[in-house]
Symmetry: C2
Subunit: 230 residues, 2 copies
DNA sequence: CGAACCCTTGATGGCGATCAAACGCCGTGG
DNA sequence: CCACGGCGTTTGATCGCCATCAAGGGTTCG
C-alpha cells in the first residue's frame, strides 16, 4: 500500500474505529491492488483466502449452475464483499468480476478472523456489514418472487434515485445486459420494460434516466414502505 | 423462564459460550413463551423489539407486497430469527408466523445490542449466525434464478435428505401449500412436479418422501457442488 | 472499413400461473 | 353416527408472462 493511500483506507467504515495497533497489523499484511475491467477475481467454490474491500470501481457478484448464469449483486466502492465466506471459513458462493477498472484492498482471511476476536470496533463493523448484506438479499428474493419484470425495473430505478438523494436524473451503472441479469430477466425484456415505463413516468435514453412523474412511477411499481439506509 | 428450562437454553449455540454474568443478565430479562400454531408473531415493518430464538416448533418467515405474498424461509429449532433487524435496529423485513405450536425465547433487542459489545463469545455467535443466514439467502436467490421449478423441488428434497444425515426416507415438514410458496411456485405446480419426479428417482406419498434412485435424482436436479454445514 | 458486440424490435414458443372441478381428510353439528 | 362444509391436494384445460429465436441498427475497436 502506498503512503498516500493509507489515510483513505483508514476512513472506510469497516476500519474507521479500529484501534491503531490492530489497524497497523491489518494494513501491514494487506495489499491494495488495481484490476482491469472484465477480470474475474475469484470463482465460486474456491476457499476464501482474502476479504475484499472495493475502494474504487465496480464489481459484479454472480453465480452459475448447469450452464446458466446470473448476476446477484453489484458491489459499489467502500463496501467489502464475501465477508460471510471469510468469517465462516467456507468456499465463496459467488464469482466476482470487475466491471470497470477497480482498486481493491485484499486482506488475508485468516488475519480478519483473528482480528475480529481482538478488536471490538472491527467486530461491530463486521456485524453491521453482514446484517446489511443479509437484508439486501432478503429484499432481492422478495422482489423476484412478488413482482413481475416491469415492476422490478420500476423499483430498481426508484431505489437508484433514492441512493442519489432523490435525484430525478441519473446514469445507470454497468451495461444493460448486466442489469437485466441482476433483475432476473433477459436483455430483450429489460428493453421492452423500459419502453413500457415511458407511459409510467420515466424516460430512459441510453444510460440516462429521467423520472418525469415520480408519483406515477411509484403507483405503478408498488415500492416497499420501508427501506434500508444506503 | 422456569428453572428446568434454563440449562436447555444455555446450550443453544448462540449462548453456549457466553460468560456467566452476561448470560444471567440476558436470561433475567428474557421470556420463554409458548405460542399456538398459525399465530403471527410480528409483521414486516414493525420495529424489532425482541430477538427471537426458536426452541421448539416450526416458524415461517414470509413477505408480502401489493396483495401477493410468499414464504421466504423456514426456521427450525435452535435457530434465532430476525437477528439482522435486531442488530441494525431497523424494522423487520419479514412477517413471522408459527406453523406448529412453538416455544420461543424472546430477548429484548436493546439488551442484545448492549451485550454484543460486552461478550466476545456472543458477538462471535452472532457473526456466525448472520453469515449463515446470508449464505442461505444467496442460495435461495440463485436457486430461483437459475433453476426451473421441478429442478428446485429435486434440490429441496436432496437438501432435506442431507440434513437428516443422508436418509432416503423422511417426512416433509409443513403443508405442501407452504412448501410451494417457499420454492416459488403454486401448489398445483408443486404437485405436478412431484409427479414428474417419480420418473427421476423419488416417490412422494402424502408427506412421505422416498428416494429410490439418488444418482438419478442428482443428475436431474444439478445440485451445487459445495454446501453449507447444516 | 469490417467485425464484434450491445441494444432494440418483432415473431414464436414454453413454463408456470390461473381457472375449474373432483377427491380426500377432518372437524363440526345435527 | 352420519351429514355437511371447509380446506388441502390433485388433475385437467386454458392463459399470459417472459424466454427464445431472429433480424436490423448503432457503436466501438482493430
Amino acid at each position: 500500500m502506498r503512503p498516500g493511500e493509507r489515510p483513505e483506507i483508514s476512513r472506510l467504515p469497516l476500519f474507521a474505529e479500529m484501534r491503531e495497533e490492530e489497524r497497523d497489523r491489518l494494513f501491514a499484511a494487506s495489499f491494495l491492488q488495481v484490476f482491469p475491467p472484465e477480470l474475474t477475481l475469484f470463482e465460486a467454490g474456491q476457499q476464501a483466502d482474502f476479504l475484499h474491500v472495493l475502494v474504487d470501481g465496480l464489481v459484479e457478484l454472480k453465480a452459475a449452475n448447469h450452464g446458466r448464469e446470473t448476476s446477484l449483486t453489484l458491489v459499489e466502492p467502500l463496501h467489502s464483499f464475501i465477508l460471510a465466506a471469510v468469517v465462516t471459513d467456507m468456499p465463496y458462493l459467488m464469482t466476482a468480476r470487475t466491471l470497470s477498472a477497480s482498486r481493491i484492498l485484499l486482506v488475508p482471511a485468516e488475519l480478519v478472523r483473528g482480528l475480529i476476536r481482538q478488536d471490538k470496533a472491527l467486530m461491530m463493523a463486521v456485524i453491521r456489514e453482514l446484517a446489511n448484506g443479509y437484508r439486501e438479499f432478503v429484499r432481492a428474493l422478495t422482489d423476484l418472487k412478488l413482482r413481475q419484470s416491469t415492476e422490478r425495473i420500476g423499483n430498481h430505478l426508484l431505489l437508484q434515485s433514492r441512493r442519489r438523494g432523490g435525484a430525478d436524473n441519473f446514469q445507470l451503472k454497468g451495461e444493460k445486459k448486466m442489469l437485466a441479469s441482476l433483475l432476473g430477466m433477459t436483455p430483450e425484456n429489460l428493453s421492452r420494460g423500459f419502453g413500457a415505463l415511458a407511459a409510467e413516468g420515466v424516460i430512459i435514453s441510453g444510460s440516462q434516466v429521467s423520472i418525469t412523474d415520480r408519483a406515477r412511477l411509484e403507483a405503478f411499481s408498488h415500492p416497499d414502505p420501508f427501506y434500508d439506509p444506503l
